[in-house]
C-alpha cells in the first residue's frame, strides 16, 4: 500500500531531541572543569541538581497535568545542568531541591512546559536561591586540583567580588575584616582555563568556548547572541576603562570572570526565552550586555548576568513583535 502525504517528503535530521543532546554534550567540558576544580562536592551538586529537575518535571507532568511524561526530551537535564553550573559547590543539597523546584515547576511547567516559558528556568532557580540564601550562595570555594575529596575547603571571594570590594574599600570605612585586595585577582591565564573561585560551571572560559564552538558547528546556535553580548560588555567596559584607567573596569577581566561566558553562550541563546529572528536576537544580546555592565558597575551585586538575561527574557515577546524579518518584495526603493 503506497503512502500519501503532503510535501516536503524529506526532513532535516536535527530534531528537538538531537538539539537537546548537543547542548548536553556542549556543557560536558565545563562540567568536567568544575568537578576537577571543586572535587566531590561539585559532582554531588551537579548530580543532585539534574536528578531533582528531572524528578520535579516528572511529578508535575504525571500527577499535576496528567499528561504523558516529557522527561525524555532532555530539557530537564539541561535545566538541571545549567542550574548546577550557576551554584557554588558548597551549597547544601536541600537548597538545590528548592532551586530546582523553582526552576522546573515555577519557571517552566507553570507556563505550560517546554517552549512556552517566558524566563530561562535555570536562571529563575538561581536568582531565587541567590535572593533567598545570599550567604550560602556566595560561599565561593577556592579551586584545588589535588583535593578531590574536599579534605580542606577554603573559601574566598570571586574576581568580581574583589573588584566590587575595591570600590567599597576606597571609601572611608572598610566593612569587613581581612578584605582581599587587588593582588588576589587571578591572572588572565588562570581565569581563562578556570583555576579560580566561582560557580561550578562558570569558571573555565576555555571549556565553555569549546562547548560554544561545538554548538556552532552543529548549528544549534548562531553566532549573533554570544558575539553581540560579549562584544557589548567588552566595548562598554573598555570605554569606562579608557576614561578612568581604573582597574575595576578592566575589560578582559570582565569578559573572563563571573558567569558572562556561560550566560552568553548557553543562557542567552536558549531558544524559548529569546527572540526568534536574527534582528531580534541582536537587540536582545545588546540589551543583555548593557544591563550586565550597568549592574556590575553600579548595582549592589557584583554579578549581573543572570539578572540581565532574565530582564531581557521579559522583553523578548515585545522584541519579536516589533523586529521581524523583511518580507521578500517589500523593499523600499
Amino acid at each position: 500500500m503506497l503512502k500519501v502525504s503532503t510535501a516536503p517528503h524529506m526532513f532535516a535530521k536535527q530534531d528537538t531531541n538531537a538539539i537537546m543532546k548537543d547542548v548536553v554534550i556542549a556543557l560536558l567540558p565545563a562540567a568536567c572543569v568544575g568537578i576537577f576544580n571543586f572535587g566531590l562536592t561539585a559532582l554531588i551538586t551537579i548530580i543532585t541538581s539534574i536528578a531533582s529537575c528531572v524528578m520535579w518535571e516528572y511529578l508535575t507532568v504525571r500527577y499535576l497535568l496528567k499528561k504523558p511524561s516529557t522527561i525524555n526530551d532532555y530539557s530537564a537535564i539541561i535545566t538541571g545542568l545549567l542550574l548546577a553550573f550557576n551554584l557554588p559547590a558548597t551549597i547544601p543539597v536541600w537548597m538545590i531541591l528548592i532551586g530546582s523546584f523553582m526552576a522546573i515547576v515555577v519557571g517552566k511547567m507553570a507556563f505550560g512546559g517546554l517552549g512556552k516559558n517566558v524566563f530561562n528556568p535555570a536562571l529563575v532557580g538561581r536568582v531565587f536561591l541567590f535572593i533567598s540564601f545570599p550567604v550560602q550562595m556566595t560561599m565561593w570555594m577556592k579551586p584545588n586540583w589535588h583535593d578531590f575529596f574536599n579534605r580542606d575547603i577554603q573559601t574566598g571571594a570571586t574576581t568580581l567580588g574583589i573588584l566590587k570590594h575595591i570600590d567599597a574599600s576606597s571609601s572611608a570605612t572598610s566593612l569587613t575584616h581581612g578584605n582581599p585586595d587587588i593582588s588576589q585577582i587571578p591572572d588572565y591565564w588562570h581565569m581563562f582555563i578556570g583555576y579560580t573561585g566561582g560557580c561550578i560551571g562558570e569558571v573555565s572560559a576555555l571549556a565553555l568556548i569549546l562547548g560554544g564552538i561545538y554548538l556552532l558547528i552543529k548549528k544549534v546556535i548562531t553566532w549573533h547572541i554570544p558575539f553581540y553580548y560579549l562584544g557589548s560588555v567588552f566595548l562598554f567596559s573598555s570605554l569606562m576603562w579608557l576614561a578612568t584607567q581604573d582597574i575595576k573596569f578592566d575589560p578582559i577581566t570582565h569578559l573572563l570572570s563571573g558567569g558572562l561566558i556561560l550566560g552568553a553562550i548557553f543562557m542567552a541563546t536558549d531558544y524559548t526565552t529569546t527572540p526568534m529572528t536574527t534582528k531580534g536576537k541582536i537587540i536582545f544580546a545588546l540589551g543583555c550586555g548593557i544591563l550586565t555592565v550597568i549592574i556590575r558597575f553600579y548595582g549592589a551585586y557584583p554579578e549581573g548576568v543572570s539578572f540581565a538575561i532574565l530582564i531581557m527574557n521579559a522583553f523578548s515577546p515585545l522584541i519579536d513583535k516589533f523586529y521581524y524579518t523583511r518580507v521578500y518584495g517589500t523593499r523600499k526603493k
Binding site: 503506497l2 503512502k3 500519501v4 502525504s5 503532503t6 510535501a7 516536503p8 517528503h9 524529506m10 526532513f11 532535516a12 536535527q14 530534531d15 528537538t16 538531537a18 538539539i19 526530551d73 512546559g113 517546554l114 517552549g115 512556552k116 548562531t222 531558544y271 524559548t272 529569546t274 527572540p275 526568534m276 529572528t277 536574527t278 536576537k281 521581524y324 524579518t325 523583511r326 518580507v327 521578500y328 518584495g329 517589500t330 523593499r331
Partner: protein, 440 residues
C-alpha cells in the same frame, strides 16, 4: 563569484546520483495516455476521434483561448479511447489513449541531429512556431509559453534569465539536458533574445553542476548576448523570485509578476523546447525525466515521450517492492505523492522518485520550542511559526497582515523544523482560506 538570494534557504542533502549517467531513450510503451490539460488555463479542444490513426507530432487538441496550449501526439498509432482516465493524483482527467503502432513521424518535423543556427527574421514567426508546438513552462507550473512571451506594450523586459538550477534533491533532468543539448539551449536563448529584443540573456546554473557550467560557458563565448552565471547550491535557488533576486538584486513585489520589474525567467527545458519548435518544427512531445530515489534499483535519466505511463519508467529501473513507501512525482521538497502508477508523464513532470519509509515518513509533531529556524530558513522572509498559530486559530486578517499569501510553498520551514510541526501544511491552508475569503 557565486550568486545567491539574501533571505533564508536551506541545504538539504543533494543525492544527485544520476548526474553522471547519460540519459537514455525510454523507448515506446504499449499505450500512451495524453491529457488534454497539461498546463495552467483552459483544457485544449480535442480534434481527433476514436479510431483515428495518428503520427508522432499530429495535433490532437487545439489551444482553447489565450491561456491554453496545443497538445500533440507523442507516438504513432491508433486513438482507442477518449475519456476520463486516472491521473497521478488519482483524480480523473480527460485523456486521449493511443495504442502504439510503429514509430512514424509527421513530415514537417526535422528529426535530424544537425544544429540549426539560422534564427527566423520576425518575432511573429517565432511566436507562431512556439505556439504551434504547444510549448509550456517545463519547470513545474506549466504556464503556456506563448502568453509568457506576449508581453504588454508598457512592460519593458531587459533581462532574460534561463533557469538551469535544479535545487531539488535527486532530480538531474535539467542537468543532463544542459550537458547533452548545451548548444541548442544557447541558440534557444538567442531566439528568445530576438523575440523580446533583449541584449542580455543569463543562463543560471548552480555550482555543483561542474560539467554543465564548463560546457555551456565554453559555448557562450561564441554567442553574443548569452552569459553564464554560477549560483550557490542552496534550496530554493531555482525558485523564480529567488533566482531574480540572486541574479539582478531586484525583488518581485507581492502580487506582481517578474515582467513588472523587467525580468523574464524560463526553464532550460522550455528554452530547449523553443529551439526545437522554432528550428526543427518539432512540437513538445518528449522531455527529460529523472527516475531516482533511495529505493530505486538503477536510477536513470530518461528521454521520455509525453504520455508514457510512470510504471513503464519504474519498470525499466528495476521496479519497486513493498519497501517503497512513497512514489513522488517531482522533487522531494515540492512534489506530490503518486497514487496511480499507470498515470502518464506530462509536459511538467521532471522526476519520479521512489522513497523508503525511513526517509519520507512524516515525524510526529511536538511542541514548538521557538528556535526560530523556520524564520531563518524562509526564502520569502515570512514567519512560518506565526502563520501556523494564526491558521490554527483561523485569524484571516492577521494572516494577511503577515503576508501569508506570499508563501511560495518551498517547504523549507517544514524541512528544518526540529519540532516537526507541519508548517508548510499550515501555510497552504492559510493560502486556501485567504483565497476563499477573497472569492466571496
Amino acid at each position: 563569484m557565486t550568486k545567491t538570494f539574501s533571505l533564508g534557504g536551506i541545504f538539504p542533502k543533494k543525492y544527485k546520483i544520476t548526474s553522471e549517467i547519460p540519459s537514455k531513450d525510454a523507448g515506446l510503451p504499449e499505450y500512451v495516455y495524453i491529457p488534454v490539460k497539461q498546463h495552467i488555463g483552459t483544457p485544449a479542444k480535442i480534434l481527433v476521434n476514436k479510431g483515428d490513426k495518428v503520427k508522432v507530432g499530429t495535433l490532437l487538441a487545439d489551444a482553447d483561448g489565450v491561456i491554453s496550449a496545443d497538445v500533440h501526439s507523442s507516438v504513432s498509432g491508433e486513438v482507442i479511447r477518449i475519456d476520463e482516465t486516472e491521473a497521478a493524483s488519482g483524480y480523473f482527467e480527460n485523456m486521449i489513449t493511443i495504442k502504439v503502432q510503429g514509430d512514424e513521424a509527421e513530415d514537417y518535423i526535422d528529426l535530424s541531429q544537425t544544429l540549426c543556427k539560422e534564427i527566423p527574421e520576425t518575432p511573429q514567426e517565432i511566436i507562431d512556431k512556439i505556439r504551434k508546438a504547444g510549448v509550456v513552462g517545463m519547470g513545474g507550473a506549466g504556464y503556456p509559453t506563448p502568453i509568457k512571451d506576449t508581453i504588454p506594450q508598457d512592460k519593458k523586459i531587459d533581462i532574460l534569465i534561463i533557469n538551469g538550477i535544479e535545487c531539488e534533491p535527486w532530480l538531474t533532468s535539467d542537468d543532463r539536458l544542459m550537458v547533452e543539448k548545451a548548444e541548442e539551449i544557447v541558440i534557444g536563448a538567442k531566439i528568445l533574445n530576438k523575440l523580446f529584443g533583449i541584449q542580455n540573456a543569463i543562463i543560471a546554473i548552480d555550482e555543483n553542476k561542474l560539467k554543465a557550467i564548463d560546457i555551456i560557458s565554453n559555448i557562450t563565448k561564441r554567442y553574443v548576448g548569452v552569459n553564464v552565471r554560477v549560483c550557490k547550491t542552496k534550496y530554493p535557488q531555482g525558485g523564480e523570485k529567488q533566482l531574480i533576486s540572486a541574479i539582478t538584486g531586484r525583488e518581485v513585489p507581492s502580487g506582481k509578476l517578474p515582467m513588472d520589474i523587467g525580468c523574464l525567467v524560463q526553464n532550460v527545458g522550455t528554452v530547449f523546447a523553443v529551439y526545437e519548435a522554432v528550428m526543427k518544427n518539432k512540437p513538445l512531445y518528449e522531455r527529460y525525466v529523472t527516475v531516482s530515489g533511495d529505493m530505486c534499483k538503477t536510477p536513470q535519466t530518461f528521454k521520455v515521450r509525453i504520455g508514457t505511463p510512470i510504471s513503464f519508467l519504474i519498470d525499466q529501473c528495476g521496479g519497486y517492492d513493498e519497501k517503497t513507501a512513497q512514489i513522488i512525482l517531482g522533487g522531494p521538497m515540492m512534489g506530490n505523492s503518486i497514487i496511480h502508477t499507470q498515470a502518464p508523464i506530462t509536459k511538467t513532470s521532471s522526476g519520479v522518485l521512489l522513497l523508503s519509509n525511513e526517509l519520507s515518513k512524516r515525524p510526529t509533531p511536538t511542541d514548538c520550542i521557538r528556535c526560530g529556524k523556520c524564520v531563518d530558513s524562509c526564502p520569502m522572509g515570512l514567519r512560518p511559526y506565526l502563520i501556523g498559530i494564526y491558521t490554527r486559530n483561523n485569524l484571516l486578517e492577521e494572516l494577511k497582515s503577515i503576508h501569508a499569501q506570499d508563501c511560495i510553498e518551498c517547504g523549507c520551514c517544514a524541512y528544518i523544523c526540529p519540532a516537526r510541526i507541519p508548517l508548510l501544511d499550515f501555510c497552504k491552508l492559510a493560502k486556501i482560506e485567504l483565497k476563499n475569503k477573497q472569492g466571496k
